[in-house]
C-alpha cells in the first residue's frame, strides 16, 4: 500500500518532461503583469514613497509595519528594476534571478499600496512567481537556453530539449485548483450569491472597466442565478477534473470562457488574463511541441525564419559565457534604475519646480461642500426598491419572465426587489384599472434581511379584459407602476353567447 502510494506520488510529482508548459507561463505572465505595472511607474513617488501617500496593508490589519517605506528615488529605482526584471523573465534572461527579483519587488510594492496596487491578482502572481523561480522554466524558449546552446561545442550536434522533474508544474496546477476552491468557499459564504443578487450588483458597479454585457445581463436575473450555480460547481470540481483525460479539455475551455466573461461582465482585465496564462501549465508537452511547429510554420509563411539548433559550421571564436550574461543583466538593471530615477526627477510629478509651482489647491463649490457636510439625508422611498417586475414564473427565486400581457385565468407574479440595507417595510402592490381606480390592495411585511417580496394576482373574474396597473407603494407613496393587458373573454360572457 505504502509502496503503491510512493510510486503514485513519484509518478505524479517526479516524472520528467520538457518544461514547455512552465515556459509558456513564464513568457505570458510577466506580459500580463506589465499591463498593470507600467502605468504605475508614473506614480511611484505618490504610491510607494515617503514623498507620497502610500497605503500599506498592515494599517488595515492593525499590525506593526514590517516593510520600510522607501525614499522616492529608491522606490523609483526599484520599480524600474521591477519592470525590467519582468521583461527579463518573459524573454528568459537570467530567468531564476529575474523571477526572484520580480517576485520580491512585486509583492513588496503591492504591500505598500493596498488602495491602488494590492489585489488578489497581486497575491496570485506572487505565488506563481515563487513556483516559477523554483522551476526550470527558463530551460526552453528562453535567452538562457539560446546562450546555453551557443556555448556548447559546435561538434556536439543537435541537442535534445532538457527534461526536468514536474513537481513545480504540479504545484502550479494544484495552486490554481486550490484558488478556485477558495473562491467557491467564498461564494458558499455569500447567500446572495445563489440568488444572483451579488452578481447583479457587482455587474452594476463601476469600479472596474466598462462592462456593458454585465449591465445588460442584470435585466435577466434568472440567468445570473443559473450562472452562479454552474460557476461554483466548476470551481469545486476543477482540481479533480483537470487531471482526467476526458474532462481536462472541457474543464479548461469552461475556465477560459469564464475568465473571458469576467472581462465583459465585470470589467476585469489583469485577473482573467493572468489565469488564462496559468492555463498554459495544463498543456501537455506533445501539445506544446505541436503548437511550436505551428507557430514556426506560421512565421515561415510570413517570411520570418529562425534556427532552433546550433549551427554545425565553423566553431565560433566568441561564445557568450554565463558570467557575461549575468554581468550584462546587472548592467541593464543598474542603468535602467539610474535612467528611471533621472527621468522621474525631471518629470516633477507634483509640479513643484516649474514656473507656477508649487501648484495651488483646487477650490470646491461651497454649495456642494455644504451639502456634503450638512445633515445626512434620509433615503428616498424610491431608492429603496431596486426592481419591480411582472411575470408568471420564477427560477432560482427570481422572476424568470417579464410579461405585460396576460390571458384570462392566468396568474400574475409580481416581484419587488429591494436595495439592501433597508428597514423593515410594509410594501403594497395594488391593482388599478385603466382609470386609476384602486381595485384591490395587497401588502406584506418585508423584514430587513429579505431582498425581495412576491405578490400574486389571479387575472380572472371579476376583472374584464383591458389594461391594468400594478402599483408599488411604500409608506403611502407610489414608487412605481407596471401596466399589463388582460386579453381574452371571461368564461361567463363566453357561455352566455
Amino acid at each position: 500500500m505504502v509502496r503503491r502510494l510512493k510510486t503514485r506520488w513519484n509518478e505524479f510529482f517526479h516524472a520528467r518532461e520538457v518544461p514547455y508548459g512552465m515556459a509558456l507561463v513564464r513568457i505570458s505572465l510577466p506580459l500580463v503583469l506589465l499591463i498593470g505595472a507600467i502605468p504605475r511607474w508614473w506614480h511611484v513617488r505618490e504610491l510607494y514613497s515617503l514623498d507620497g501617500s502610500p497605503s500599506p496593508l498592515w494599517v488595515s490589519y492593525g499590525t506593526t509595519p514590517f516593510l520600510p517605506i522607501l525614499a522616492a528615488p529608491v522606490a523609483v529605482a526599484l520599480f524600474s528594476v521591477l519592470i525590467l526584471s519582468l521583461c527579463a523573465v518573459s524573454v528568459g534572461w537570467m530567468t531564476r534571478l529575474s523571477l526572484i527579483v520580480s517576485c520580491i519587488l512585486y509583492a513588496g510594492f503591492g504591500l505598500l499600496d493596498a488602495m491602488g496596487t494590492l489585489t488578489k491578482y497581486t497575491v496570485v502572481a506572487t505565488h506563481l512567481m515563487v513556483i516559477l523561480s523554483l522551476s526550470e522554466c527558463g530551460a526552453v524558449w528562453s535567452v538562457d537556453a539560446w546562450l546555453r546552446r551557443r556555448s556548447q561545442p559546435a561538434t556536439q550536434g543537435i541537442i535534445d530539449s532538457p527534461k526536468s522533474s514536474v513537481w513545480t508544474l504540479r504545484l502550479l496546477q494544484l495552486f490554481v485548483g486550490i484558488v478556485y476552491l477558495g473562491a467557491a468557499i467564498t461564494k458558499m459564504h455569500t447567500p446572495a450569491y445563489f440568488s444572483g443578487d451579488q452578481l447583479t450588483f457587482w455587474m452594476l458597479g463601476n469600479t472596474n472597466l466598462e462592462n456593458r454585457l454585465g449591465e445588460t445581463l442584470t435585466l435577466y436575473p434568472w440567468l445570473l442565478a443559473i450562472m452562479a450555480y454552474i460557476t461554483i460547481i466548476w470551481e469545486v470540481l476543477f482540481v479533480f477534473l483537470v487531471y482526467s483525460k476526458v474532462w481536462r479539455v472541457p474543464t479548461l475551455v469552461i475556465g477560459l470562457i469564464f475568465h473571458v466573461l469576467t472581462y465583459y461582465t465585470l470589467g476585469l482585465i489583469i485577473f482573467p488574463l493572468m489565469f488564462i496564462a496559468t492555463y498554459f501549465a495544463f498543456i501537455e508537452p506533445h501539445e506544446a511541441e505541436r503548437m511550436a511547429v505551428w507557430a514556426r510554420n506560421a512565421l515561415r509563411r510570413v517570411g520570418l525564419t529562425f534556427r532552433r539548433r546550433p549551427s554545425l559550421r565553423v566553431p565560433r571564436s566568441f561564445a557568450p559565457r554565463p558570467a557575461y550574461a549575468a554581468a550584462a543583466w546587472c548592467m541593464m538593471m543598474a542603468t535602467g534604475a539610474v535612467i528611471g530615477v533621472e527621468v522621474e526627477h525631471h518629470r516633477d510629478v507634483y509640479h513643484k519646480r516649474g514656473e507656477n509651482g508649487p501648484l495651488p489647491l483646487k477650490v470646491m463649490d461651497s454649495q456642494l461642500v455644504h451639502e456634503m457636510l450638512g445633515p445626512a439625508k434620509p433615503i428616498r422611498p424610491k431608492d429603496l426598491y431596486f426592481a419591480f417586475d411582472v411575470g408568471s414564473s420564477n427560477l432560482g427565486g427570481v422572476l424568470s419572465n417579464r410579461r405585460d400581457t396576460f390571458s384570462y385565468g392566468e396568474r400574475a407574479l409580481i416581484q419587488c426587489s429591494l436595495h439592501p440595507p433597508h428597514p423593515d417595510m410594509w410594501v403594497e402592490v395594488n391593482l388599478h384599472d385603466a382609470d386609476d381606480v384602486v381595485l384591490k390592495r395587497v401588502g406584506t411585511i418585508v423584514p430587513r434581511e429579505d431582498l425581495r417580496a412576491e405578490f400574486f394576482y389571479d387575472m380572472k373574474e371579476p376583472l374584464l379584459p383591458g389594461e391594468y396597473d400594478f402599483v408599488l407603494k411604500y409608506d403611502g407613496e407610489e414608487l412605481t407602476r407596471r401596466r399589463v393587458t388582460l386579453q381574452g373573454q371571461p368564461p361567463e360572457l363566453t357561455a352566455s353567447r
Binding site: 510529482f13 517526479h14 505618490e46 507620497g52 501617500s53 502610500p54 497605503s55 496593508l57 498592515w58 488595515s60 490589519y61 492593525g62 499590525t63 493596498a114 488602495m115 494590492l118 489585489t119 488578489k120 497575491v123 506572487t126 505565488h127 522533474s165 513537481w167 504545484l171 494544484l174 486550490i178 484558488v179 477558495g182 467564498t186 451579488q198 450588483f201 457587482w202 452594476l204 458597479g205 463601476n206 472597466l209 466598462e210 449591465e215 445588460t216 442584470t218 435585466l219 509640479h351 508649487p358 501648484l359 489647491l361 483646487k362 477650490v363 470646491m364 461651497s366 456634503m372 457636510l373 445626512a376 439625508k377 424610491k382 431596486f386 436595495h419 433597508h422 428597514p423 430587513r448 412605481t480
Partner: protein, 212 residues
C-alpha cells in the same frame, strides 16, 4: 537529497495552501496578520447595492473649501476609470492622501479636513437605454453624502462616523429605543481609531452621527 528537498517543499507548500482554505472556510484567524491575505482566496467576498465615492475636503482658515484628492497634479486610476481615493472603502488611508496634497501644494492654513462618502443606488448606473427597458419612471439619481471623519490639519481624528451602509443598517436596528439607550451608555469621550473597526464589529462610539 534533491528529491527529499523537493518533497519537503511540496508538502510544505500544499499544507500552507490548505491551511488558508481551512481558515477561510471556518473563519479561523483570517484577519490575524497581513500574511493571511496571501493564502485566503476571498475574491469578491463583499457586495453592495450602493455605488460609493470618497471626497476629501480641506477647509481653509478663510472658510474656503479645497479639494485635497486627487491632488492638483492629476488623478491616478489603478483599475479602471476611478481615481485611487475611491478604493479606500474603509477610510483607513484617505487622510494620508489629504496630508500629501497639503505637503506638495501652496495653500492658506487649513482649519479642518473632512472625509466624505458619496453613495447612490447602483440601479442608477444602468445606461439610459437599459434603464428604459426595466423602469417606467424617469431616471432621477440622487447622491447621499455621509461625513466619515473630521480631522485637524495635521491629520488627527476629531470625530469619525460609519459608512452610509453601516448607518442604514444601524438605523434599521435602532428603531428599537431600548437598543439605542444601551448603545449610548458606552459612548466614549474621544474619537476611536478606525483601525480598530475590524471584522463586523462596530467599536463603541462609532455609531450613528446623531450629534454632528
Amino acid at each position: 537529497m534533491k528529491r527529499c528537498l523537493s518533497n519537503t517543499l511540496i508538502v510544505g507548500y500544499l499544507s500552507l495552501l490548505m491551511y488558508g482554505v481551512f481558515c477561510h472556510a471556518l473563519y479561523y484567524r483570517i484577519n490575524d496578520h497581513p500574511g493571511m491575505y496571501f493564502i485566503v482566496w476571498d475574491m469578491y467576498c463583499g457586495w453592495s447595492a450602493y455605488e460609493t465615492r470618497n471626497h476629501i475636503v480641506g477647509e481653509g482658515a478663510s472658510g474656503q473649501f479645497y479639494e485635497l484628492a486627487p491632488g492638483p497634479w492629476g488623478e491616478m486610476k489603478p483599475h479602471g476609470d476611478l481615481d485611487r481615493r475611491h478604493y479606500d472603502y474603509n477610510g483607513f488611508h484617505s487622510i494620508n492622501l489629504a496630508l500629501n496634497t497639503l505637503r506638495q501644494t501652496e495653500h492658506e492654513p487649513m482649519a479642518r479636513l473632512y472625509v466624505v462618502e458619496e453613495a447612490w443606488p447602483r440601479k442608477y448606473n444602468l445606461p439610459d437605454e437599459l434603464w428604459a427597458q426595466r423602469y417606467t419612471e424617469p431616471k432621477d439619481m440622487q447622491s447621499y453624502y455621509q461625513l466619515r471623519g473630521t480631522y485637524t490639519p495635521d491629520g488627527q481624528a476629531i470625530q469619525q462616523w460609519p459608512t452610509l451602509l453601516t448607518r442604514l443598517q444601524q438605523e434599521a436596528l435602532l428603531n428599537n429605543p431600548r437598543l439605542r439607550q444601551d448603545m449610548q451608555k458606552g459612548k466614549p469621550f474621544y474619537a476611536v481609531d478606525p483601525t480598530s473597526n475590524l471584522g463586523n464589529v462596530t467599536p463603541v462610539g462609532y455609531e450613528l452621527p446623531t450629534d454632528r
